[in-house]
């Protein structure tokens, strides 16, 4: 008998099926990887096992945990199981903790509820658990509040909460998707250790095959509520029997075919950043404390040539987004200068900025949040056209929108639709269309694919590569994801603590990083081939 047995699980909302007969098992002391793209039913499978399906959803089939039938268990029995025998870690650490309770209270709460321990005992157990997940008392006393911790630290608190009572099974639903690669590796290593220590079973859910491949003993690949393939990780990855597995594996290592890096003209660079720094005032601890500042960007200099694609990589909080805001003239540098096509960006007037903005556009991370849901595509995509020298007629505008939509692989007739009628990938195409409609020279793209599924992401990377060639666009990609840098950039810059610590041709930086921060990034980045090699070596040993 396996620890968790899911057999022919079917879940539907009203008439719409979500899961069509999913079966999987997790053994004690094993990591089972559950891989699938958004909408494949991974989270619903997890919530069914927790007995936490949202209202209006019904589950049929058989789910047992250590022999206990979950689907027919009454609520009071589930309350005793949850947090004690089966626990869960969620995707979004920023919102997973109650903002008004201290981390000590939140970890101790479950211990008190399940064991009836008094406050002092529960708190000392909570303390031990927080120490175990890497939050030592000296820096993280129990009376810290969640908002005083970073995303990775909060995820450690959530893990401490989940593992406080040594559950038999832990479900981790995309536990690192919101975190940068270095933190991701730390959190996954921690989960691995907890599994090895306590013979706990782990159901590790992710959309990223490369992440799971490195840690999972076995894999289940899910698509549209059905299991495509299941088995030993090494075997699945080596053989790639199922076409969907092959597609996922390819997509996650996809590198668009690009013409050789264009000859970089030695003339005047398109964008010149010289000695840029940005200070933020730090909140004063008392009325009389001296004012302090925090240097988010520290003496950064680089340039981008026409048609050149540059990646700026770094961990979260390294200052890359602040730098991007300065380059987009959304923020002013405290020091230094930014010159775009010979014009000063930092000190330009509104009129000067208008012409600069025409040539300098932006693509944001979130294709959901960056469109007004009540406007049609024609208006959304055509919005930057007010930057044009001469105002365009309505017909001219419509032609430009149609052209831009075609360039990003959408149909001109899509201009009459609303954003909600498009999928995530199509919406990102829309934001690219909006960026290229003024025929800019440089596009700044802030994590442009990190919210997308791997196969969609491969397509969008292709599109970026294509537009780079066709329209002669230069790019500045801002990302913590090295696969993006590898896929579409000629030059990679590594940023750390406000400074650019390394800069060079992408292939060189990624294959033989010279500085410590760059090495940390490269080592932590999930890589399918490496994961497979490691697995195969493990088997031979």
């Amino acid at each position: 008998m396996s620890l968790l047995e899911i057999e022919n699980l079917r879940v539907s909302i009203g008439q719409i099926p979500i899961l069509n007969g999913v079966s999987l098992t997790v053994e004690a002391g094993e990591i089972m990887g559950l891989v699938g793209e958004s909408g494949s039913g991974k989270s619903m499978t997890a919530l069914t096992a927790m007995g936490l399906l949202p209202h209006g959803m019904e589950a049929f089939g058989r789910v047992t945990l250590d022999g206990v039938d979950i689907l027919s268990a009454p609520e009071s029995a589930m309350n005793r199981l949850r947090g004690h025998d089966i626990a869960m870690v969620f995707q979004e650490p920023m919102t997973a903790l109650n903002p008004l309770k201290t981390i000590g209270e939140q970890v101790a709460e479950g211990i008190r509820w399940h064991t009836g321990a008094n406050r002092a005992d529960a708190e000392s157990r909570a303390r031990a658990m927080l120490d175990r997940v890497g939050l030592p008392e000296s820096q993280f006393p129990l009376n810290r509040y969640p908002h005083e911790l970073s995303g990775g630290q909060r995820q450690r608190v959530v893990i401490a909460m989940a593992c406080a009572l040594n559950p038999k099974l832990l479900i981790a639903d995309e536990p690192t998707t919101a975190l940068d690669v270095v933190i991701q590796a730390q959190i996954l290593d921690l989960l691995q250790e907890l599994v090895d220590e306590g013979r706990m079973g782990l159901l590790l859910i992710s959309h990223d095959l490369a992440v799971v491949a490195q840690y999972a003993d076995r894999l289940t690949i899910l698509r549209d509520g059905e299991v495509m393939e299941a088995g030993e990780t090494a075997a699945i990855l080596r053989e790639q029997k199922h076409p969907y597995t092959r597609q996922l594996a390819r997509a996650s290592t996809h590198v668009p075919a690009r013409a050789k890096a264009p000859e970089i003209a030695s003339g005047k660079p398109l964008l010149e950043v010289k000695g840029v720094a940005r200070d933020y005032p730090v909140r004063r601890t008392s009325l009389f404390a001296p004012r302090k500042t925090f240097r988010a960007v520290d003496d950064v200099s680089f340039d981008i040539q026409e048609r050149q694609s540059v990646a700026l990589v770094g961990r979260s909080g390294c200052g890359k987004s602040t730098l991007a805001r300065i380059i987009l003239a959304l923020d002013k540098p405290s020091d230094g200068s930014v010159t775009f096509r010979g014009k000063d960006l930092a000190h330009g007037s509104q009129a000067e900025l208008k012409s600069i903005r025409r040539d300098l556009q932006v693509v944001f991370q979130d294709p959901y949040g960056s469109f007004n849901p009540r406007h049609r595509v024609e208006r959304l995509v055509g919005e930057p056209l007010h930057l044009m020298e001469k105002p365009l007629t309505a017909a001219q505008k419509r032609d430009r929108v149609a052209e831009a939509l075609q360039q990003v692989g959408l149909s001109p007739s899509d201009m009459h639709k609303y954003p909600h009628e498009f999928s995530g990938g199509q919406r990102q195409r829309l934001s690219i269309a909006r960026a290229i409609i003024t025929k800019p020279k440089l596009i700044v793209a802030d994590e442009p694919v990190s919210a997308l599924d791997v196969s969609i992401r491969a397509q969008i990377l292709d599109l970026f590569a294509e537009l780079n060639e066709q329209l002669g666009l230069a790019y500045l990609f801002i990302t913590h994801d090295l696969t993006v840098a590898r896929a579409v950039s000629d030059v990679t810059m590594v940023m750390h603590a406000g400074k650019i610590v390394e800069r060079g041709p992408t292939s060189e930086v990624l294959s033989s990083p010279k500085t410590e921060p760059a090495r940390a990034l490269v080592e932590a980045a999930p890589d399918l081939e490496q994961a497979l090699n490691k697995r195969l070596q493990g088997i031979q040993r």
């Binding site: 004690h84 109650n98 903002p99 709460e109 908002h147 909460m161 909140r283 004063r284 009325l287």
Partner: protein, 314 residues
């Protein structure tokens, strides 16, 4: 926390000063000569002039403003010319009725609204939610004076258990409380209806948050999650409305005090306006402004107690 409170306090004082300028200015612009109103239409010019001289009305406005302001600071709100007694005494006399009335109403409306709101939110979408919120909707639509008449008809005229109006004074506390019961219910119910709806919607929103799911994953039963995790997070909008309601209860009781013949602040200001007793109007309005600012300060401090993220001075 100290920085936070100090900042709020300074902002409050500045607001109070600005309000005093506005109150003084508005009454300055209003037509009507206080001296003539006091002495009546038949008074001779000499008598008028003498009175103006005595009251300092001949001095320029800024001088009178600063005199008035200095008076406010020392607790001297001037002298009413219709009651011929210091305004501060009048206010004190009335406050012993109005303040208990406001506090009892506030207590009642909170005690009703929060459990009802939490209950409706926990059953969101179900029949019991629809029914309670439908009732609350009716409660919001009810004018409080009509409710007051209805209560008088049932409890005073019909059942004869509570007085229909008047206030016997605090010499006999039981009788005093009895005479405040019906007025405070008629004030509290419509307020409770609003507060219950606010509580419900804040709770429904909070119950959709990720940390609620985390708490459920710990094994906590629904009920515990509701009271321990959701309620405190839903308190911010509830506190905001509560603050607004308290100031309304203190200032907005004119109608109810008239219905029940209660000698409270509301009636004082109503009569003062009718008789053009500008000194009383000025004094009472400033008192209400000050209490409003004080309540806002209290609400701000409550925010910081509820939410640790607000404790850092901003």
């Amino acid at each position: 926390m100290i920085v936070y409170v100090t900042k709020r306090l300074v902002i409050g004082l500045v607001t109070l000063l600005l309000a005093s300028v506005v109150v003084f200015g508005v009454l300055e612009i209003l037509p009507g000569d206080p001296a003539r109103i006091m002495l009546g239409m038949n008074a001779g010019p000499d008598a008028l002039e003498a009175l103006r001289q005595e009251m300092g009305l001949n001095q320029p406005a800024p001088v009178r403003f600063f005199q008035w302001l200095a008076g406010l600071v020392t607790g001297d709100l001037g002298r009413s010319y219709t009651y011929s007694s210091p305004v501060i005494d009048l206010v004190q006399e009335r406050l012993v009725v109005s303040l208990p009335l406001a506090l009892i109403s506030l207590f009642l409306s909170t005690a009703i609204a929060i459990p009802v709101g939490v209950f409706a939110a926990s059953r969101s979408g179900k029949l019991s939610d629809t029914l309670t919120m439908g009732t609350a909707q009716i409660g919001i639509a009810l004018p409080n004076f009509w409710l007051a008449l209805l209560l008088v008809y049932v409890f005073a005229v019909g059942l004869r258990v509570l007085p229909a109006g008047g206030f016997p004074g605090w010499a006999d506390p039981v009788e005093a409380i009895k005479s405040l019961i019906l007025p405070s219910i008629s004030l509290a119910l419509p307020q409770a209806a609003i507060l219950a709806r606010v509580t419900r919607s804040a709770m429904v929103e909070t119950l959709g948050e990720d940390f609620i799911r985390t708490a459920r994953a710990k094994g906590l039963p629904r009920r515990k999650v509701l009271w321990r995790h959701a309620l405190r997070n839903a308190m911010i909008p509830v506190l905001t409305i509560l603050g607004l309601q308290f100031s309304f209860l203190l200032a907005g009781t004119i109608i109810i005090e008239n219905v029940f013949y209660l000698p409270g602040l509301g009636r004082l200001i109503f009569q003062a306006i009718n008789q053009r007793d500008l000194i009383v109007v000025e004094g009472v309005v400033m008192l209400l402004v000050a209490s409003l600012i004080l309540i806002n300060l209290a609400v701000d401090i409550c925010y910081a107690i509820v939410d640790p993220r607000l404790r850092i001075g901003r």
